[in-house]
């Protein structure tokens, strides 16, 4: 495989045949809007002291989660980071169970044991959110390796941030995937900041993931991560190739974290003009433009947001009224027999 350049973006004023169905474009938009409102609600709840522990939001990065999930089949696997709410929701995880987890209520998706950074919905193929940067890339290799050994055609999609490209696990995992030709699609969400520090200050190359691809015999691929249709196209191609035995892909999706690193971080280190510039590239605005250009009425587009906002408000009210978990459950589910006993 050569390390060929490939940058994909779409023009908001046009729509392509593969995604020209207004139905698909609208569904993607609705999904992104829901996630945006959900994350915004989490931010509010955090400030009200109702979210326990840190919470890292992917506001501005919804197109990657939604576009990625849209090209995965029911039995494909995905795996992500502590900034993982969007990825779980995009795969179909119950928003109520996720919010119960975030707010420490009974019925949390991880039974109150994972919290914001470890949202998981195995039944929807989302094999977890991992809070040690880079650690889940080798795990993704294992999921993909199992697919090969099981002889199925499932594909694993692994989302990680730009900061992860500087940690050893990234290199070990991408190397193994390339050497073993595993059906795994690595997706670097380059949101421009490793945490508080601009990624450009801590890498010697311009593109955190793409400029490293050649070292593993992979193509350098960059996609506009704020363009859900472009994400869908590029990740869809990578998934199809992996499914057909073509091996792994490493894709860098350019995006912007339209919030701080965590809810506790106002992100004041980001230049105002940079924030303003990226605000014009908001993935929701962009997709709204695509819908408008394809003939969807402005009122219908605006209606999505109003409807979802009410839905999320109702969800939050319901969740906040839910009871706390039973403290005795802290002792369950460490071992496969349901217990946590270490001695007789």
């Amino acid at each position: 495989m050569g390390a060929e350049e490939c940058t994909v973006t779409t023009d908001a004023s046009t729509s392509r045949p593969a995604d020209s169905g207004t139905g698909t474009a609208l569904r993607l938009y609705e999904r992104m809007v829901f996630i945006r409102h959900f994350l915004t609600k989490v931010d509010v709840l955090y400030r009200q002291g109702r979210v326990r522990g840190p919470a890292h939001l992917g506001i501005g990065q919804e197109a990657i989660a939604v576009g990625g999930a849209s090209v995965l089949g029911e039995h494909d696997q995905s795996i992500g980071t502590y900034r993982g709410h969007a990825h779980a929701l995009a795969r179909g995880a119950s928003a109520e169970a996720v919010l119960r987890e975030l707010t420490g209520r009974d019925g949390g998706i991880c039974a109150g044991k994972g919290g914001s950074m470890h949202i998981t919905s195995a039944e929807h193929g989302y094999y977890g959110s991992y809070a040690i940067v880079g650690a889940h890339l080798p795990i993704a290799c294992g999921l993909a390796w199992a697919n090969v050994l099981h002889g199925n055609d499932r594909v694993t999609m692994c989302f990680f941030g730009d900061g992860a490209v500087n940690i050893g696990a990234f290199h070990e995992a991408v190397n193994l995937a390339a050497v073993w030709q595993l059906p795994v699609v690595f997706v670097c969400e380059n949101n421009q900041y490793m945490e508080y520090t601009p990624i450009a200050e801590v890498i010697p190359v311009a593109r955190p993931a793409a400029d490293r691809a050649a070292g593993y015999g992979l193509d350098a691929v960059v996609v506009d991560g704020n363009d859900v249709l472009a994400v869908r196209e590029v990740l869809g191609e990578a998934v199809a190739r992996a499914r057909d035995g073509g091996g792994p892909a490493l894709i860098e999706a350019s995006t912007y974290r339209m919030c701080g690193h965590s809810c506790a971080d106002p992100g004041a280190y980001r230049p105002a003009e940079e924030v303003a510039d990226w605000a014009t590239r908001d993935p929701l605005l962009r997709q709204a433009g695509v819908l408008a250009a394809s003939g969807v009425a402005e009122a219908d587009i605006a209606g999505v947001s109003a409807r979802v906002a009410a839905e999320v408000d109702e969800l939050a009210a319901r969740v906040l009224a839910a009871p706390a978990p039973n403290p005795a459950t802290a002792w369950t589910d460490m071992w496969s027999d349901g217990t946590s006993t270490w001695r007789n």
């Binding site: 044991k113 290799c141 999921l143 390796w145 199992a146 190397n175 496969s336």
Partner: protein
Amino acid sequence: MAQLTYRQAVAAALAQEMERDPRVVLLGEDISSGGVFKTTLGLRERFGERRVRDTPISEQAIVGAAMGAAMAGLRPVAEIMFSDFYATCWDQVVNEIAKARYMTGGQLSLPLVIRGANGGGLGFGSQHSQAAENWAMCVPGLKIVAPAHPADMLGLLAAAIRDDDPVLVFEHKALYGGKADCPDGEHVVPLGQAALRRTGNDMTLVGLGLTAGTCERAADTLAGHGVAADVLDLRTLVPLDAAAVLASVRRTGRIVIVEENPGQLGWGASIAALVAEEAFHHLVSPVARVSGGNVPLPVAAPLEAEVSVSPERVVAAALGLLRPATAGSISAPGLI
């Protein structure tokens, strides 16, 4: 009954389980050619390269891939060539593998084994000789196995592979060449059951892995001094057969705990605490501990021996317990 070396017992256990369960797969550095300790000899020829997979020198990838594969329904057995190398993938072991089931509320299941060569005594130096089983004991969510005999190597590794939880199996590199009878047919030794290797009512000697044999040899010497000792081979640290330790010490009233790792916060300290908390009134002498020294393990034979446990040190500690106590002196005679 076949005679197998400890190293052959590793391969025998892997073969036994790979034969009965197609989900069992192996990965690790150089394993297709048998590995540096020849513990996987012949398995690639027998089970093929799909199930016996060589990896790069890439411990995070090895252990992480084992985790992912386990989550997706396989039963991987990953080899970490020397247990010192756990340090290079410790994040995967303690932050990911140990916690994934719990922190997802039981959504993920990780039936995997990580196995490899552990411990000192062969002059491998400070980066290839550590007894690392102790590192894992303070991490909830990991089971810890350290066989002392070929038959246990076979049976405990088989049980570890069948277990639905992550199990770390510490094979002692100084034991690989030892040969002993192993049961014919399928052999499985349940995790969490200590083995009573010698019986005697005067004291209890407790060991694990290499030091189980150290205790056996010490007990044989003590018998010559007219001292009859129970020797308990713990076999697994987690789950711990605390009941076996407590039952023995309640009968003997004395205990010598022998561990290869340095003594501070060693697993032996947990056994000592257990005895102090739950069998104190049965004790007729202080608890004694014999452990490795608090230095990185040196290479030259006299230096390594100086800071390592030995039957002689165990005997000295044991006999020390039988001398009349000196007022004010309760120092453990064997702790170095």
